[in-house]
């Protein structure tokens, strides 16, 4: 029989992050969202708690924990605020991840300690205005000239890349075009301070409003040849591998968000009196709450097992895609019930229900849309 107990360390971690989220994030989450403000204070405190570099080796300033521990961190943050969860998830999966997995020893020693413990953030530049799901069709290019890469192009929707903590970005760029027209794609490290690199914060989001999202412009950005990440031509593979793991963190945001929205819905339904009774006592509402609770349990089992596979060093891509699409869609149903059970108040931003509802939507789109997840899973089923 499988063992469903968390380890003592995972239990402690869950308690400490939950406590932190309740005491530090909950009181300010709605105001930050309303002002569309990235919080340096909260991000700094999350660094102090050790939430960046969770799975990264202590050699580079990380915590050396397993992947499930990281997923629990994201889940507990998202239970209170998807935006802070986004800052941490992007910091770990997309910022630290590729540098840690594909970087040389020198690159890791140079870039990782600031990202794990010195309050610096790093972006993952894959998406372009005309290449999202179809990321292989990106146009940004890098030409090697006199021992330097010269990068030109632009990226869009890059998390953590336009704020005072942003230290740089891993850019996916075309580094060559073969005679048969096939593009060679590589990842290149560009520091934020590079001349010709412009970062612009994107505003007016309906979702993840206190997470920092950037447009990046590369105008003859010049970096040393040694800034190539891993092998030349490995860029696309590296990006896909990064997304495989990143999906687990997006799934954790779905699970945590669903848990948070469910708790709000349950509490409100027991307090709100209509026709002389709490609305939770009307069977149609009770059954909604039952469905939420059941689906959240199922989502957690699916996601934790996918993490277990990864922690065992086994193949987990299929399960990661399943977790991402399922947890996101469970959150969709739970957030919808949560707003519905709140009635008119569910539509008012003074209640957290509306924010859960809005923040959920990102999860169907970021790091591979739900359609793309289904494509990935369908390939495992040999559907085409």
């Amino acid at each position: 029989m499988p063992n469903y107990d968390l380890t003592p360390e995972q239990m402690l971690l869950k308690n400490t992050v939950r406590d932190f989220a309740e005491k530090e994030i909950k009181p300010v989450r709605l105001e930050l969202d309303r002002k569309e403000e990235f919080s340096y204070e909260l991000t700094g405190k999350m660094f102090d708690l050790g939430l960046f570099g969770v799975t990264c080796s202590p050699e580079y300033g990380g915590q050396g924990m397993d992947y499930l521990s990281y997923i629990i961190v994201v889940e507990e943050l998202a239970r209170i605020d998807g935006c802070q969860a986004a800052t941490v998830a992007a910091g770990n999966s997309l910022g630290i991840g590729p540098l840690y997995y594909f970087g040389s020893k020198e690159q890791k020693e140079k870039y990782l300690p600031p990202l794990c413990s010195e309050k610096k953030l790093w972006g993952f530049g894959l998406t372009e205005p005309n290449a999202g799901s179809d990321a292989g069709n990106s146009k940004t290019n890098a030409i090697l000239k006199d021992g330097q890469w010269i990068i030109n192009g632009s990226k869009i929707f890059i998390t953590n890349s336009a704020n005072e903590m942003s230290a740089g970005v891993t850019v996916q760029a075309i580094t060559d075009t073969k005679d048969n027209g096939k593009k060679e794609i590589s990842c290149i490290i560009a520091e934020q301070s590079c001349k010709g690199l412009t970062a612009k914060a994107m505003k007016n989001k309906m979702t993840w409003r206190s997470s920092n999202t950037a447009e990046l412009y590369f105008d003859d950005v010049t970096v040393p040849e040694g800034n190539l990440l891993g092998k030349r031509g490995d860029g696309f593979k590296q990006m896909l591998q990064t997304l495989d793991s990143g999906r687990l963190a997006i799934a954790a945001m779905g699970l945590g968000g669903a848990q948070g929205a469910f708790e709000e819905a349950l509490k409100y339904s027991k307090e709100r009196i209509a026709f002389g009774k709490p609305i939770s006592s009307f069977q149609i509402n009770a059954f909604k709450l039952v469905d939420c609770a059941t689906e959240i349990e199922a989502a957690r089992s699916l996601l934790y097992r996918a993490c277990w596979l990864k922690d065992q060093g086994r193949a987990f891509s299929k399960e990661a895609a399943m977790s991402k699409v399922y947890c996101s869609e469970v959150f969709y149903r739970v957030a919808n019930h949560c707003v519905q059970l709140h009635g008119g108040y569910g539509l008012m931003e003074e209640y957290p229900a509306a924010k859960y509802y809005r923040d959920q939507k990102l999860l169907d789109i970021g790091e591979g849309t739900s359609e793309i997840q289904r494509l990935v899973i369908a390939r495992y089923l040999d559907c085409f």
């Binding site: 003592p8 360390e9 239990m11 402690l12 971690l13 308690n15 400490t16 406590d19 932190f20 102090d48 708690l49 050790g50 939430l51 969770v54 202590p58 915590q63 050396g64 924990m65 961190v73």
Partner: protein
């Protein structure tokens, strides 16, 4: 300086208490346990003072979870006094703790002002007395200067009392003393290799058993619905006095 922190594991403040079938205790099956909140001030203060810090907790196996929390926050080592399925009262708990504290040669013993489960607030004082140490309860300020400690406690009317004492000294900590830190992730990983020494409560107490026995537990009665008094203020006042005298029988 050798500092001991006494930590009690208690049910989470949000626990819905259910009485067990024998009515001599609470049903523990669905309870989430936490470090008693006042003990967190004691842990924080010990870490701030530094030196050699030890967390001591008496209780069943599950209280190792609370010990780990203290270690993850930054306490260096631990002693778990295992109760092995037996229940002890405040006196025997204090007696076992006093023995371990005397053997350990601790200078300063920090505790919460009370456990938030039974709210007895007895163990610190009794353990201090049994170990022949001084004690001050409900303190919210501590300054250590060489071989003297200066402590402050708030008293009624907004004034404060200031004490000075030598060591060994027991202090019961109150809210306001400090802001307890969160157990950080690096702290949690470091705690894995910190030693937890095990002792048996039964052996420490030479087989002695609790002097106090719980015979019956009851939940407080549900509050009855309130009464609204209508009318002009003079009539309302008259009506209120009548009800207080005749129904509530408090005047």
């Amino acid at each position: 300086m050798k500092i001991a922190v006494l930590v009690k594991q208690v049910p989470d403040t949000e626990t819905k208490i259910v009485i067990n079938a024998n009515k001599n205790g609470i049903d523990e099956s669905n309870i989430k346990y936490i470090v008693s909140p006042y003990d967190e001030y004691a842990i924080e203060e010990a870490i701030k003072i530094g030196g050699e810090t030890t967390v001591i907790s008496m209780g069943p196996d599950r209280c190792i979870e609370s010990i780990r929390t203290a270690l993850a926050m930054g306490i260096q080592k631990a002693i778990h006094i295992d109760t092995q399925g037996k229940s002890y009262d405040s006196y025997q708990t204090a007696a076992a703790l006093a023995k371990v504290i005397k053997d350990g040669g601790f200078d300063l013993v920090l505790t919460g002002k009370q456990g938030i489960d039974y709210d007895n607030g007895q163990v610190t004082q009794m353990a201090a007395e049994l170990s022949g140490a001084s004690q001050v309860m409900v303190i919210d300020k501590l300054t250590i200067n060489g071989d003297k400690a200066k402590v402050e406690r708030r008293i009624a009317g907004g004034s404060k009392e200031v004490y000075e004492s030598g060591f060994p000294l027991f202090l019961g900590c109150e809210k306001g003393l400090n802001t307890p830190r969160y157990a950080s992730l690096p702290g949690i990983m470091k705690a894995k290799s910190k030693p937890i020494e095990k002792k048996s409560a039964d052996e420490l107490l030479g087989g002695a058993t609790a002097l106090v026995e719980f015979t019956n537990f009851e939940l407080p009665p549900e509050r009855a619905a309130g009464k609204r008094i209508e009318g002009e203020p003079p009539q309302q006042a008259a009506q209120l006095v009548k009800l207080l005298r005749e129904e509530a029988k408090v005047i």
